[in-house]
Structures are given as C-alpha cells and as structure tokens.
C-alpha cells in the first residue's frame, strides 16, 4: 500500500466529516417534509424510539425482552449445531466410512439457504420455538462441520502416527489428538457459524415468530413506524457485533494458551 498512514488527527477529522455528512443528509431529508416523520424519521427520532422501546412494550414485550427471546433461539440453535457438528466432523475425519455416508447427504442439503427451510419450519413447528431454532441450526451447522472436518483432516500426520504408536483408542485419538489439533480451525468456524446463525434468526423471525426482535420489526413495518424498524436493526447489529467480539476473545485466549 503506497499511501502512508494518515496522521490520527486527520483520520479523526475525516471520520467525523463522513459521519456528520451522512447524518446531515439524513436529517435534511427527514425534515424536508417530503414524507411523514413516521415514514422517514430523523436520526434523533430513531434514538428516541429506541429509548422508548427499552421501557415500553411494543408488540407484546419491551426491546430487551424481544432480544432475550431472539437470543434464546439463537443460543439453542447454535449450541445444537456445535454439539452435533464438532463430534460429527471429528468422526468423519477419522473414519472414512462415516465420511462416505455423510458427505453426499450433507452436500445435497448445504446449498439450500437456511431461509428456504422456513416453510418446513412453519409446517412442523408452527410458531413455536422449534421453527426459528431449526433455521438457525441450518445456518450455523455447515461452517461448524466443515471447519471441524477440515481442521481434523489437516492435522499434521506426525501427531496421528504418534497417537497410533502410543496405542490410543479411537475415542482418545479423536478427543485428545484430533480435537485439540483442530481447535484453531474449529474456533474460526464457530465465528462464521455464529454470524450466519444470527443472520438466519432474523430472517426466520420475520416469518415464523410471535416474539423476538425480527418479529418486532415486522410489527413495526405493519404499523409504518420506520423508527421502530430501525431500532430493531440497530439492536440486531449491536448484538451481532457483541457475539463476534466475544468469540474473537475466545479465539485469542485459546491461541495464547496454545503458544501460537
């Protein structure tokens, strides 16, 4: 990169200009009176609405209650994906026959966008928690499986040979050699998986939920309250960032422990 780094003061100024310019443009459009303030709220309208939603319920619950609902579904779907994906990935990497059986089935299903499972989710679970959890699972599962599998497959051969020479049983080989060796890859997969899972959740809640932050946005849309919809978007974005930051910390901790 040829251009030298800009001095910090200049970066700050430009950043401020960019943000200010955007906000100014937005505010001008909102204040122009072209449309109603419900349709195009000013930035501070959104902030106010957000604060309102924190204390006043909308569509049945307050903002945090909706978020909690969403996060619970995400948590369940994600944990199931991890609980199934990691062992299965290890088994597939260790036993070729497991790989042969599972791979074709997995490849057939994984290209289906998680959101396309919504009709079946609705069919099987109605508006119960199972629906969104299924869709989150469909989003979160492939990266976990793939990264576990690849991480285990790419373990340096010398560790496998050492494990075999030391008489490790299949179980010990997979849990004490393959798994620890594959951890960096697995954790990277978890980050991707969490991201995809959270995104899939939003989509699912737009259609098959009776609570949650996606549901909040749908109700906001029905009420033509853009500020509500935007508040939902902000909340979703922030939680998504927090999840990624948390996992990045986990990744860093694991890497220092392993002396990488």
């Amino acid at each position: 990169m040829l251009q030298p780094r800009l001095p910090a003061a200049r970066v700050a100024t430009l950043t401020f200009l960019g943000a200010a310019g955007f906000l100014a443009f937005w505010s001008a459009a909102a204040l122009s009176g072209m449309t109603s303030r419900d349709f195009l709220p000013a930035p501070w309208d959104v902030v106010r609405r957000f604060a309102q939603l924190v204390v006043e319920p909308f569509a049945g619950f307050t903002l945090f209650e909706h978020l909690l609902s969403s996060f619970q579904r995400f948590g369940m779907g994600f944990l199931i994906a991890v609980a199934v994906g990691i062992p299965l990935g290890l088994l597939m990497a260790w036993f070729p026959w497991v790989d042969r059986i599972v791979s074709p089935a997995f490849d057939a299903v994984r290209f289906v966008a998680p959101i396309a499972w919504v009709p079946f989710a609705a069919l099987w679970f109605g508006t119960g928690i199972g629906g969104p959890v299924l869709i989150i699972f469909m989003g979160a599962f492939p990266p976990v499986l793939i990264n576990t599998y690849r991480g285990a497959k790419n373990v340096d051969r010398k560790y496998i040979e050492a494990a075999q020479m030391l008489g490790a049983s299949h179980l010990r080989a997979m849990t004490q050699v393959l798994l620890p060796a594959a951890v960096p890859s697995i954790v990277a997969g978890l980050r991707i998986s969490a991201g995809l899972g959270w995104q899939s959740l939003v989509g699912a809640e737009l259609i098959v939920a009776s609570s949650g932050v996606g549901y909040l946005m749908v109700k906001g849309q029905a009420a033509v309250s853009t500020a509500t919809v935007m508040s939902g978007m902000v909340a979703i974005g922030v939680v998504g960032i927090l999840i990624d930051v948390a996992l990045r910390r986990v990744q860093a901790v694991i890497e220092t422990r392993r002396g990488l």
Binding site: L14, L17, V118, P119, F120, R157, L206, G214, T226, V229
Partner: protein, 272 residues
Amino acid sequence: MLKSITSPQGVPGFSFGALLRPLAGAAGGLLAVLLLWQLLTAGSGLISPARFPAPAEVGAALRQIVIEGYSNGRLHEHVMRSVLLVTMGFLVASGVGVVLGLAMGASRTVEALVNPVFLLLRPIPPLAWIPLAIVWLGLGDAAKMMVIFFAAFVPSVINSFAGVRQIDLPVFEAAAMLDVRGWRYWREVLVPGALPSIFTGLRLSLQASWTTLVAAELVGAIAGLGQILNQAAQDIYPAMIVVGMVSVALCGWLMTLGLAWLERRLMPWKAR
C-alpha cells in the same frame, strides 16, 4: 472427501480405481440418499407425508409445476423472474460495491470518509433490511431490489478493499516508477491485483443476493421461486416445498458455477 488419514501408506493402489472411486462414490452416495429417503417415507411410513414428502410425490409436484404451473406460473417462468431480479440487483450492488471498495483501498482519505457510514451498515444482516424495504417501497420488486442491494453491497466493498490492501508494495512502487496514473492505474494495477479478492467478494455477494431474494419473496411476492415456497407453505403442500427448495439451491449453485467459470477466464495467471 479427502484421503484417509489413518490408513498406513504403502498399500499399493490401482490407478483405475483411483479414478472411478470418487465418481462412483458421488453417484453411489446420491443413490443411497434417494433410497434412504424412499425408505423413510413411503417405504416404511416412518415419516408421514404430511411432514415430509416421498420421492414420488416430489416427482409429481415437479411435473405439475413444469407443465401446468403453480402459483401464477410455470417453473421456468418463476426461475426467470428470480434469476432476473438477482442478476440485476447483484450487478448494481457489486458494481457500486467493487468501485467503492477499490477506492477505499486505494485512498486512505476515501477510506476515512466512508468508514463511519460503512461501519454502521455492516453489522446489519441482509435480511434485516426487509421490513424497512417494505415500509418504503411496498411489497413489489422495488423492495426486493433494495434488499438485494444492501445484502450484496457489503461483501463486495469489504473484499475489494482487502484485495487492494494485500497487493504487494513492490507492485505499487513499480507503478509509481512507471508513472502509471488515472484510468490506467485502475485498469492495470488496482483491478488485476485485487481481482482474486474481488471475486471472493462477488461470490459472497451472489450468495447473499439469492438468500435475500428468497427471503423477500417468502415475505410477500407475486411470483418467483420464493413465492413458490410461500404458496406451498400456505397450501400445506410439502412436495412443492421441496421442489421450491431444490430449485433455489440449484439456481444458486449454477450461478456460482458461472461466476467461477468467469473467474478462471479472467485470471489465467492464477495458479490453482
């Protein structure tokens, strides 16, 4: 499927088998899946047709939608409609995204200016744009285009930006020495150097475009692949749901293949 890591080396292999085995494996796997599917549904009745259709039912639904039509159109009409929307949205979004990403990569000033807005947009999942799009643009194609735009825009920007930043310094220095400027700078230095990353971004943008289109159509549409899913869900027609899902997957997959083909043609220098 990668080579086994546990079997000891030195068991002599037959070159013939080495060729046939993966092919046979894939075909056999597919056959196995089909057989298992048939067994679990119609064969044993373990899974009732109300929950998941048997292969024969899916075949019948497929025939129906191809010949008679379902939900306001026949299969190819739905496909055309969706593919058209995705293509348009994708081209616009990635066009703008790639240009912006390259500009941000090439100029630290542009990067600093655009970053605040971009950081605001980035954490928002593509599907989260749907309610906003519907409020502003209603339930038609315009709303879908808006959603596709925001979904496809972000990966293109990020990857194009990264693509520029990973170009080796010597390349830039050579360009400066050879006094390459303006349009030529973009065409001869920036774009080729960033091209691999650009394509990664395009691939992600394409996937995002498909996902958001289907989701948007599920929420409310008149025609399109997502609409098939929507209608089939309402009609409680599981076999048609499967047809819809497979169509979506296949279209997405084929378009991705097309993109990969384009990538290979545009980057003959890249070692594979």
